[in-house]
């Protein structure tokens, strides 16, 4: 009972963060047809920057209630600083073969990893005690869920809903979708495609950095977390289908639960379990469970 409840909550928590990052991947792919291998790096950067932001906040005696907005804010700030410059770099190879895009984002992974080493060092870092700062939810006598998990899940859900609303209901969202469908047509209709690309990319980066920032209180920030995430995010995208938001959600939930279950039950098989699923999906339904046919 204890184990399954923990698996459930852990799974949803992990899924929530994973969904944010995967959503970032999907939107960048959907609009610019680029798969950003550096999404893991942004996630890691978000985590490390979040730690610094919280350390700074704690030094200023900011109350605990502000921690979550601070984390989200730090993620956004980082995205606004990094997103446009990285996008401008990627712009140089938009019309080249896809392999070059992969290679360029791969180079970014290398650069960002050393950047983290340079700024924060190679030793894993932890935040100040945020995780238990919000208390717990007592479900049973032996079962308590840290409220932090619930808050993050709620925050991720809120961000997703806002994101979806933005895409469907706002003018900007319509422009984004139109550009994704048909870039030349949008250009012909006087849409400044380069601005759209920059905005979308920055949005994608933001989802990654915020995800990293939100997850870090529950664990630690390490140099490896970026690559581990790429592998997870890739699994999500494979399972759900490249380009599909609902697919990203389902994929995130599946990966989140499998990870969570593996950690509790068979830690050695954590990574293996994910791959078994990915491989099964690839064999049975290669385009993903909910892929868009485009």
């Amino acid at each position: 009972m204890l184990a399954s409840a923990n698996i459930l909550v852990g799974g949803v928590f992990h899924a929530a963060v994973l969904f944010l990052v995967a959503a970032g991947l999907q939107i960048v792919f959907g609009v610019q047809k680029i798969v950003n291998l550096a999404c893991g790096s942004f996630y890691a950067l978000g985590a490390y920057f979040g730690i610094s932001a919280l350390a700074w906040a704690a030094a200023l005696k900011v109350p605990a209630i502000a921690f979550i907005p601070i984390l989200i804010g730090s993620g956004l700030l980082l995205a606004i600083v990094l997103g446009p410059s990285v996008e401008r770099l990627l712009r140089l190879i938009y019309d080249r073969d896809e392999h070059f895009q992969i290679l360029l984002t791969f180079a970014l992974v290398l650069i960002f990893e050393d950047a983290i080493r340079l700024i924060w060092g190679a030793v894993p870092l932890q935040t100040i005690n945020v995780y238990f700062a919000f208390g717990e939810l007592r479900i049973a006598s032996d079962l308590a869920i840290p409220n932090y998990n619930l808050i993050v899940i709620a925050a991720a859900a809120l961000i997703s809903v806002a994101f979806g609303w933005m895409l469907k209901r706002t003018r900007f969202g319509r422009i984004v979708r139109a550009t994704a469908e048909n870039k030349q047509m949008s250009e012909a209709l006087c849409v400044d495609v380069s601005k759209v690309y920059m905005a979308v990319f920055t949005l994608g980066v933001a989802l990654g950095t915020v995800g990293g920032a939100l997850v870090v209180p529950a664990g630690a920030a390490s140099i490896d977390m970026g690559v581990e995430l790429i592998v997870d995010a890739f699994a999500v995208v494979i399972i759900g289908g490249l380009g599909s938001m609902p697919g990203a959600l389902i994929g995130a939930l599946i990966v989140g639960f499998v990870r969570s279950a593996a950690i509790w039950l068979y830690p050695e098989f954590e990574l293996l379990a994910i791959y078994v699923i990915v491989i099964t999906v690839l064999i049975v339904r290669p385009q993903g469970l909910l892929a868009r046919t485009a």
Binding site: V35, L89, L92, I93, R96, E98, H99, F100, I102, L103, L104, F106, A107, L108, V109, L110, I111, E113, D114, A115, R117, L118, V227, I230, V231, F234, A235, I238, E268, L271, L272, Y275, V278, I279, L282, I283, P286
Partner: protein, 332 residues
């Protein structure tokens, strides 16, 4: 029917074997051959590693330069080679040839199922799948301590040679002497073999697959089969390279399968030039010596490589060989 000797269109291919074109690889091989006579032991060992990387890269470029499949996980085969060397030298079977043979057998066996799955996909999917498999291997090597030695790895002793009695020689002498030339001979042989393969119908069909998969199919080229062939050959070369690279290090550990290693391989290939048959060879040599020098300057070599890779990708996609081999004698 014409009465000409060599068909016109074949000129491009045969030009490559003309005297001037052969000068390029000949020069490189000569340099590697005389190296132990002119350089100190530290650098000779570097060249030893470079030869191993060159072999691995020849395979990787068959996959990327010729077939158009970018593998981000090729390091997994290097790891298989290294660990094979480790396991075998810890038994009584320390024979170099045998180690290579066993490594090839294991590498090919592993490559077939992985290849069958991965080659169905192209571009980003293929890249990510190969990355995923190599990280899976890394994870496995790391976690299963009792089988693999965990992050401590497995020691690799210097292998013995059939044709040469190495007893009485210390490790350094072996590595800069008999074993060095053994590996050199292997390098030349494997390069010639790869050249043979790429000049054959396999090479042409792989390039057709790279250029236009659909059209290749409609012209009767079995895309899946040849991609798999390329994948397995690349794996075999990777495994051979892995054995050679690991010997001077003396240790097989999980980090060999880590994505950074795969990244290094890709970097070397881009540096040397993936659009050229000789790119792998040049890239390996230049990279190894460059990395050695760079590491004595700064610990942030990843950053440096990342920046250089960006420059290459954006401004010099054909790498060094692109600048050197302007006539395209050796182009893929």
């Amino acid at each position: 029917m014409t009465t000409s000797t060599a068909p016109i269109a074949a000129r491009t291919a045969t030009t490559a074997t003309s005297k001037r074109a052969l000068a390029l690889p000949a020069l490189l091989f000569l340099l590697i051959f005389i190296f132990p006579f002119v350089a100190g032991p530290h650098y000779v060992i570097l060249m030893f590693s470079a030869m191993g990387y060159a072999i691995a890269l020849l395979g990787l470029n068959l996959l990327f330069g010729y077939t158009g499949l970018l593998s981000l996980g090729h390091a997994m085969f290097l790891a298989i080679g290294a660990y094979t060397a480790g396991y075998m030298t810890s038994t009584r079977i320390t024979n170099f040839e045998l180690i290579l043979l066993v490594a090839v057998a294991i590498g090919a066996t592993v490559a077939v199922p992985i290849g069958l799955l991965c080659i169905r996909y192209v571009k980003i999917y293929f890249a990510m799948l190969t990355l995923a498999f190599s990280m899976l291997l890394y994870s496995f090597l790391f976690k299963f301590y009792h089988l693999t030695g965990g992050d401590e790895g497995i020691r690799i002793k210097v292998p013995s040679l059939t044709a040469w009695d190495l007893s009485g020689l210390d490790t350094l002498s072996v590595l800069t002497g008999p074993l060095y030339y053994y590996v050199f001979a292997l390098l030349v042989l494997l390069t010639a073999l790869m050249r043979c393969l790429t000049s054959s119908s396999l090479g042409l069909q792989l390039r057709a697959i790279r250029e236009n998969q659909q059209k290749a199919e409609y012209l009767g080229v079995n895309v899946k089969r040849y991609r798999l062939v390329a994948f397995v050959i690349a794996a075999v070369y990777g495994v051979l390279g892995g054995v050679i690279i690991a010997i001077p290090v003396g240790l097989a550990d999980p980090s060999i399968a880590y994505w950074v290693q795969s990244g290094n391989l890709i970097f070397m290939l881009l540096l040397g030039g993936y659009t050229n048959f000789l790119g792998p060879l040049l890239g390996a040599v230049v990279f190894i010596f460059f990395q050695d020098q760079l590491m004595s300057f700064t610990e942030y070599w990843r950053l440096t490589f990342g920046v250089i890779l960006v420059m290459i990708v954006v401004f010099f996609p054909n790498g060094l060989m692109g600048a050197i081999d302007r006539r395209g004698w050796w182009s893929t």
